[in-house]
Assembly symmetry: C2
Homo-oligomer: 406 residues x 2
């Protein structure tokens, strides 16, 4: 398969437009209200936070997963969460106004919000903004403005897109996402960890779209870790408008596999971008587990290491503190035999079968200054593998979260 990276994030696929405006939810005139629009009504599948405290926009969008969708309105600066009955009616009003200004049928807009929890939206600003962004989308197609409008503590936009051939048709997939903190992977489908908007112009049955998203998430957004907090607002939406006019995919054929592969690769690139832009993060660490007896053991160990604040602070300090990694393996609740285990940093085995390797520890120490580091735990007992991407924990994480209201 030829998979070509292209520009444009969510606006790359045919028929999708997006832009963003400032309406005053964020201080300083930054963009804070974004809109995705497709002239052709879309099939939509989604994944939402597993947090039992779900924000009003999450609950509303979840209810609309059966509808044909033409627009997604998204704001940053306020999560519209734990906002009582007012929050519910505000979320409904956001979609209602979007539908009204774009002349769409009722129930064909979705909504996503991110920012402070517990504050009601300043609805006069939001209403002004929705009118403005709906007017602008007719003349402006600007993914950068959309990407900026959904950022909170993110330091950069995260847009990815690709195209590939299915028969005579060119199919495109685009992702624009945000997420920097309150990031914890969750293994269940329909649970995600940030705002991820995915568009595609492929023609495919909705149940297959669902399966494709599930598989792509499993290898990407569900394998990252920034902190240990699962947000109340996490949303992944995949919108498909069929504008590529490929032969409709109705079964798990070769075309389906091509799409899943493309979607997975794009989601992996986006997920890594989220970790790299983690709050205060300077480094990305791939924690890979090999030769486990069960996937469950591999996952437990990968996550214990990736979520350990002592491991993450050591990475920040360029410290080859592999003892902390072993401590995390030890409390991971997975079965292992330390006499078979090999732990390596960038390929240098520092612990082999219960004994430290002093020569390799010196080499591994030198590797810790790299921006991308791989920790490998070879359990030596089976054939299952798993990996998680994590980042370091720095002063800036504390700074951002001590003083940022989210």
């Amino acid at each position: 398969m030829e998979l070509e990276k292209i520009e444009g994030g969510v606006t790359a696929p045919k028929g999708f437009r997006a832009t963003g405006v400032s309406c005053g939810l964020k201080e300083g005139g930054y963009k804070d209200l974004g809109l995705i629009y497709s002239e052709i009504p879309c099939d939509v599948v989604g994944a939402f936070t597993s947090n039992k405290v779900k924000a009003a926009p999450v609950r509303l969008s979840m209810m609309r997963m059966g509808n044909k969708i033409s627009a997604v309105i998204a704001n940053s600066g306020n999560a519209n969460c734990v906002t009582g009955k007012q929050g519910e009616s505000d979320a409904i009003r956001m979609t209602g106004l979007t539908e009204q200004f774009l002349e769409l049928p009722e129930g064909s807009a979705l909504v996503a919000s991110t920012g402070v929890i517990g504050e009601n939206l300043t609805m006069d600003r939001v209403e002004y903004g929705i009118e403005k962004v709906c007017r602008m989308i007719k003349s402006e197609n600007n993914v950068a403005n959309f990407a900026n409008a959904i950022m909170t503590t993110d330091t950069r936009q995260k847009n990815h897109a690709c195209e590939f051939k299915l028969g005579e048709s060119t199919v495109r997939i685009g992702i624009t996402c945000k997420g920097a903190g309150m990031i914890k992977p969750d293994v269940q489908m329909f649970h995600a960890t940030m705002l991820v908007f995915i568009t595609t112009d492929i023609s495919m049955q909705k149940t297959l779209l669902h399966d494709a998203l599930k598989e792509a998430l499993e290898y990407s957004f569900n394998r990252i870790s920034v902190d240990n907090d699962t947000s109340t607002n996490d949303t992944v939406l995949l919108l498909s408008n069929g504008a590529a006019e490929n032969a409709v995919i109705e079964e798990e054929n070769d075309d389906y596999r091509v799409f899943v592969k493309a979607l997975t690769e794009l989601c992996m690139a986006s997920a890594k971008a989220v970790v790299k832009d983690g709050e205060g993060a300077n480094k990305i660490v791939k924690v890979e587990i090999k030769h486990a007896l069960t996937i469950s053991d591999a996952k437990k160990i990968a996550r214990a290491i990736a979520d350990s604040y002592l491991v993450k602070t050591a990475v920040f300090g360029n410290s080859p503190n592999w003892g902390r990694v072993l401590a995390a393996i030890g409390y991971s609740d997975a079965k292992f035999d330390i006499d078979r285990l090999i732990f390596s940093i960038n390929g240098f085995a520092v612990l082999e079968k219960g004994e430290p390797n002093r020569a390799n520890i010196a080499k591994a120490s030198a590797e810790m200054i790299q921006n991308e580091i791989t920790f490998t735990v070879d359990l030596g007992v089976g054939y299952k593998e798993y990996y998680v991407w994590t980042c370091d924990l720095s002063y800036d994480y504390v700074k951002i979260n001590a003083h940022y209201i989210s």
Copy 2:
């Protein structure tokens, strides 16, 4: 019951001596090798880390829980963990030398270590130190030296002791503990979270001593949280030499209840001292859950809040970021009904039955500058309660753990 606080930590009970020396495991000449000694051989009960990677001294001490114990040798600066066969023989040698220099029977000394993981002990220094501390204990009884000798990133000694009357006899309990990071509570008996040495001169059957320690730990050291990492070396030891010569307690009578109450109060004071001295900590937060349907729900919610790094950074920033508390409740895996839940900060209800209380939020904000803060989650559905003490997460936590090798 009259419970009187007294000085002396582990040396307060009759017949116990302790001191500490410097042998060069820590840089800068700080004390790093401590000894507790009782002329009368003691019954001992203990609780040890649940981490599957257990340090050599932990494994050795666990094996000796059935023995009569006269001495505990403890070092800081090196955890003697993941040190292979050399580590095992070093731990045995530490107890063997202690027994030799104090002329004790084989198997009557215990050992505990704390510090860097994965480095072998510099045994010539340790051997020199053991000879020195065994010689000194004959003329010197200095709990401050012992307490200093077991400190790592601790900023202060943690000594507590009390005495009370049982009939005509005066009974004493003393605790000297250390612990500042790698602190995560664990609910199971025989699992603990730091080095805690408890001495008492009470006469009590060993099985009752065990039950008493279990109950005291449940309300104290198992209810604290600094970070989310469970150490490889955590050890709680309770040594009882019977020197108070009270009527031997052989059943759960009134004297037993008095002892349990005194032990629990002392453990609670020590546990709070550990949280207050948490790595980089400035504040202590009591997270209390009320009116839960089950203890399990109450525990899950208390721990999710106490372990949330977003909550802890907000506390550091004096930010009344109660939305993050609600997010933690939401991902806690406990059952609750947000329409019945009341969340309060120092008594000011900021969320009542799904709706924010704006007037109280302003009052709660003002409370966040306090050094001791109480978060109360009233679930409004039952009669179960639980609490956890936690601390804030500061720049200094990152600083200490980025550059301290442990």
